[in-house]
């Protein structure tokens, strides 16, 4: 049994990005360029402190305690409070750890491209992290909902950053989808409250067959699904590829760190902590959810094959990969749930590697399309980037020695445990499709001859392009780090207690199987 302890740590962890955002605003000065460095050091410091605070909570959680911090009670049932449990910590860990790396990367990316409105960018970035970590630590649906909307509002500015017609269009599309989904989520929250009188996340659920008629529970679940459009499940995914017009670190944030992860995080919360495994299986909702997820997995991969723009291809890959996480919990089995939980950080690390590589290709080589990338991985071009990309791609396909293998392994075990071998086939087909769309990129980058555009001048280079400009190092080093960690996680999945936390969370849900 877990012991709930009052603690200030959750608030401290959330306060880091919030204070950082305020400081960024305070340091704003349109002319003084020294302030820019101050602004960036602020972001980095805050991200490191936040990461350490989040990490320091892990041993406490693993001892079986849960940290709670009550913020305020508006009315009975409407309580804003933070509570950190094992699963929440997993998401908080993912966000805070990747924030450090993405911040470093953003410095290189934004400065190298001389982007406008960088202060707004870093401010909104900090705000988005604030919202994401707050969601991870929410004790109940109400708190979760509020930060869900905060996340939408803050990331809008990042998506529409360029301010041209295309960016504004995709920003509007982004808002239309996500705010509408927020409406559904709110309705679902209110309904849940009306049915049960509480909205707390409790392992194995607060709803039961006694709360309402089965059809009401089914409709409620549909509302929750519509409310969690951030998970980009099909057919409500099209905002995600459109949002690719954003600067690449933002895409990385959307895909790996905060936004879509918040969506799948919500799915796991709803399935395991609002409905509960027993209710899900007695209503037959697990099968429906697993079918939708399978559909998204396969169709997402198919759509990815046709994309020439690297970022769009990655976007469809994300859509497919996110459904693995939804799929894992929908299996309603012990191993499936572990698989989906660890896929949150693992997919985060792999996908961020891929996106950071895509961004580096844009900045350093000026290439956005896969077809332009012939020979880009060769010596004198961008070998480090492309090696990191290869590692990420292998991980996406679920092959060792990258951490994607571990999570897929658990998912496969989960399908067998749930007694649904047909879904094992789905995972294998989807993985195969992953190979189909990632392999050509690697082949083009390493084995095709570069296009002779500059009269062979490129051939003579000995120094890699990646070290030409010190700013590029800000981009290459983070992506190398994430790639290395993706490999480390495969051999030592207990690094940063990831697997321990997932096992603890799942054993709480299943009552210690």
């Amino acid at each position: 049994m877990t012991v709930v302890v009052e603690s200030i740590r959750p608030v401290l962890a959330v306060a880091c990005p919030a204070i950082c955002a305020l400081l960024i605003l305070l340091f704003y000065h349109p002319k003084l360029s020294t302030r820019v460095n101050l602004r960036e050091s602020c972001t980095i410091t805050a991200s490191v402190i936040q990461f350490l605070i989040v990490l320091s909570m892990a041993p406490i959680i693993l001892e079986g305690q849960e940290l709670r911090c009550h913020l305020l009670t508006v009315a009975p049932g409407i309580v804003f409070s933070y509570k950190v449990d094992a699963f929440g910590l997993l998401f908080a860990f993912t966000s805070s750890c990747l924030w450090i790396l993405v911040s470093l990367y953003s410095i290189g990316y934004m400065r190298a491209l001389k982007e406008h409105a960088q202060t707004r960018y870093f401010f909104m970035f900090a705000l988005a992290i604030f919202a994401a970590v707050s969601m991870a630590m929410s004790e109940n649906l109400i708190t979760f909902y509020v930060f869900y909307e905060t996340l939408t509002a803050s990331t809008y500015w990042l998506v529409a950053h360029h301010g041209d017609k295309e960016a504004l269009f995709s920003g509007r599309k982004y808002l239309t989808y996500l705010l509408t989904s927020g409406w559904f989520l709110f309705t679902a929250t209110v309904l849940t409250y009306c049915l049960t009188g509480t909205t707390d996340f409790v392992p194995n659920g607060i709803l039961s067959l006694d709360s309402a008629a089965p059809w009401v529970l089914m409709i409620l679940f549909a509302l929750f699904m519509l409310g969690l459009m951030k998970a980009a499940w099909m057919p409500f995914h099209s905002w995600l590829p459109t949002a690719m017009v954003a600067p690449t670190p933002v895409s990385a944030l959307l895909h790996a760190v905060a936004v879509v992860k918040a969506g799948v995080f919500g799915f796991v919360r709803v399935v395991c902590y609002i409905y509960g495994i027993d209710l899900m299986s007695s209503l037959g909702l697990g099968l429906i959810l697993a079918s939708i997820a399978s559909f998204t997995m396969i169709v997402g991969s198919f759509l990815a094959i046709g994309q020439d723009n690297l970022k769009r291809r990655l976007a469809y890959s994300t859509i497919s990969q996110l459904s693995y996480i939804i799929f894992g919990v929908a299996l309603l089995s012990h191993f499936g749930a572990i698989g989906s939980m660890i896929h949150i950080p693992f997919h985060g690390f792999m996908k961020i590697t891929l996106f950071l590589c895509a961004g580096a290709l844009i900045v350093i080589a000026g290439k956005t399309e896969v077809s332009q990338m012939a020979g880009i991985g060769r010596r004198g071009q961008m070998p480090i980037t492309m090696i990191a990309f290869t590692i990420g791609a292998i991980g996406m396909c679920g092959a060792p020695p990258v951490c994607g293998f571990i999570s897929k392994w658990y998912l496969c075990l989960g399908t067998l445990e749930a007694g649904m071998p047909i879904f094992l086939g789905v995972i294998l087909i989807s993985s195969l499709l992953d190979v189909v769309y990632f392999f050509p990129i690697i082949r083009t980058a390493f084995f095709e001859k570069p296009l002779e555009t500059n009269g062979g001048e490129r051939e003579e280079r000995v120094r890699s392009k990646e070290t030409e400009n010190p700013l590029y190092l800000f981009m290459v080093i983070p992506l190398a780090i994430t790639a290395i960690f993706s490999v480390i996680f495969c051999f030592f999945p207990h690094t940063f207690h990831i697997l321990d936390l997932a096992e603890l969370a799942v054993s709480n849900i299943f009552g210690g199987v």
Binding site: L72, I78, R120, T150, W183
Partner: protein
């Protein structure tokens, strides 16, 4: 009698005297007008704080004008509701006065300054009078004083404002006449004009057709004054073409005073017992729901920023009236409506200040001309941004608090449809506010578009806006923590609300 018990009459009398002083001082020195007005309103505001403190600690203040006993003489009664609204009105008037200094110099000829400030001060007198009085006829008089000053002030901008003012004059006069007619009806059956007296005498006459007709007249009259849909037709033009400082004060203080009068008449003169005899509040709730949607949809269709804000006001009056309409069927009582009176005043005041600042600098009325303005007028735009976010209902702003409490009230009353209406109107609000934010903050100038060269407005114009913008969030947090809720409870229990009538 304690000196503090004379403050209500002091608030009105000083203001009236000051109006005359301004007119005389203007002959000698035109610059002094502003300072006299500012000093008076500041003093009034300080008095109102003392009044609230006294009302909360000691109890309701009764002041008999000239020492005449109530049924015959005029009585000023200040309970928690009055004191609360009085502070809001005077605070907004104060900020509008500070804001007016530079904007009026820009918009109005120097020779007209003394008259302008005289009228401004008379307007404040009227609004304060409406709030403190406990006598129906006196309420009518102050309403008329405020309205007449309002017509003249709107017309002060000249040009299209003349027509807007004339429309307002006709409809406003009609509204006030309705109100007077209602008073006449009540007087004919009860023989008294004192509110407390009416409250005692009326219950026996609830079946009387004259009393029922009087209620309808009051409702229509004050509905016109507060621009409650569908009686709002004067409002968009008046808000759009009025001089800057006047847009600010009529959209906040004046609208709120009319709503206060409506609430006072409904709950203090007539009572909850009378209202529950008829399905009045169901009708009000539904009309308010239509207003919320209708105002927002029309706001989306506007290109003129001030006009957009005016339609947004119609939607927000709908929010307040929805709170009123739900008040008898929820234990929250009038709390959501009263919250939104303050909240909307803060938000709309800030938005109008920003919108008028754009006009002040470069005559930017059209939303589409605001491209990239955030870099050129950072403080004003930031204030606008905060207030717009607050309007949308971004936590923990005041707009969020209102919506939260309205939703709680609707759930408590079991009228789930209004939850959907609130959400739908919120989505519409996002559409029109986000459109402006997008243009100001995100859109970059395209090639060939003319570059607008503007700089930040003077400090006296952006500071009040920023103060309101920050208050939108600070007050929101204060509401959420629940510090002022005892005031709300006091008001509710004073009006016989907060208990669900089956």
């Amino acid at each position: 009698m304690l000196p503090i018990e004379q403050f209500p009459v002091l608030v009105v009398a000083i203001s009236l005297l000051s109006a005359i002083t301004i007119l005389l001082a203007g002959v000698i020195n035109k610059k002094s007008c502003f300072f006299i007005s500012l000093a008076t309103i500041t003093f009034q505001f300080i008095l109102s704080i003392f009044i609230l403190r006294h009302v909360l600690t000691v109890g309701t203040i009764h002041y008999w004008l000239g020492g005449w006993r109530p049924p015959w003489g005029i009585e000023y009664v200040v309970d928690t509701l009055n004191a609360y609204v009085l502070i809001i009105i005077l605070f907004l008037s104060l900020l509008a006065a500070i804001y007016s200094k530079r904007s009026v110099e820009h918009e109005i000829e120097a020779r007209k300054l003394p008259t302008f400030y005289t009228l401004f001060q008379i307007l404040v007198t009227g609004l304060a009078g409406v709030v403190v009085t406990g006598d129906m006829f006196n309420l009518y008089v102050f309403l008329e004083i405020a309205s007449l000053a309002g017509y003249a002030l709107i017309a002060a901008a000249g040009g299209r404002a003349l027509r807007a003012s004339y429309n307002y004059l006709i409809l406003g006069a009609l509204g006030v006449c309705f109100f007077l007619l209602g008073i006449g009806f009540l007087y004919s059956v009860t023989g008294t004009l004192n509110m407390a007296d009416l409250r005692i005498l009326l219950p026996a006459l609830y079946g009387n057709k004259a009393v029922q007709a009087a209620f309808v007249f009051f409702f229509i009259g004050l509905g016109i004054k507060s621009a409650f849909f569908p009686l709002h037709t004067w409002q968009p033009d008046a808000y759009t073409y009025a001089p800057s400082a006047i847009s600010v004060i009529i959209s906040t203080a004046m609208a709120k005073a009319s709503i206060y009068a409506l609430i006072r008449v409904i709950f203090s003169v007539f009572t909850v017992d009378f209202i529950t005899l008829f399905p009045i509040f169901d009708i009000i709730s539904w009309v308010a729901a239509i207003a919320m949607i209708f105002g927002s949809i029309l706001a989306i269709a506007q290109f003129d920023l001030k006009r957009m804000l005016a339609y947004s006001s119609i939607a927000n009056i709908g929010y307040i009236m929805l709170g009123v309409g739900l008040s008898t069927s929820t234990t929250l009582g009038l709390t959501p409506a009263l919250m939104h009176i303050l909240n909307h005043a803060l938000m709309k005041g800030c938005l109008f200040m920003a919108a008028c600042a754009f006009i002040y600098k470069a005559d930017l009325r059209d939303i589409r001309d605001l491209v990239g303005l955030a870099r050129k007028m950072p403080y004003t735009c930031f204030a606008f941004l905060l207030a717009a976010l607050s309007m949308i209902g971004f936590p923990p702003s005041v707009g969020f608090v209102t919506k939260l409490y309205l939703i709680l009230a609707a759930l408590d009353a079991g009228k789930y449809i209004f939850v959907a209406v609130i959400f739908f109107s919120t989505l519409l609000m996002i559409v029109y506010f986000w459109h402006v934010i997008e243009i100001m903050y995100i859109r970059t100038e395209e090639k060939g578009e003319k570059e607008i060269s503007v700089t930040e407005v003077p400090m006296s114009m952006f500071i009040p806006g920023l103060v309101l913008a920050f208050l939108c969030f600070i007050v929101g947090i204060i509401w959420l923590i629940g510090t002022p809720l005892p005031i709300m409870d006091a008001i509710n229990s004073g009006l016989g609300l907060g208990v669900v009538v089956p």
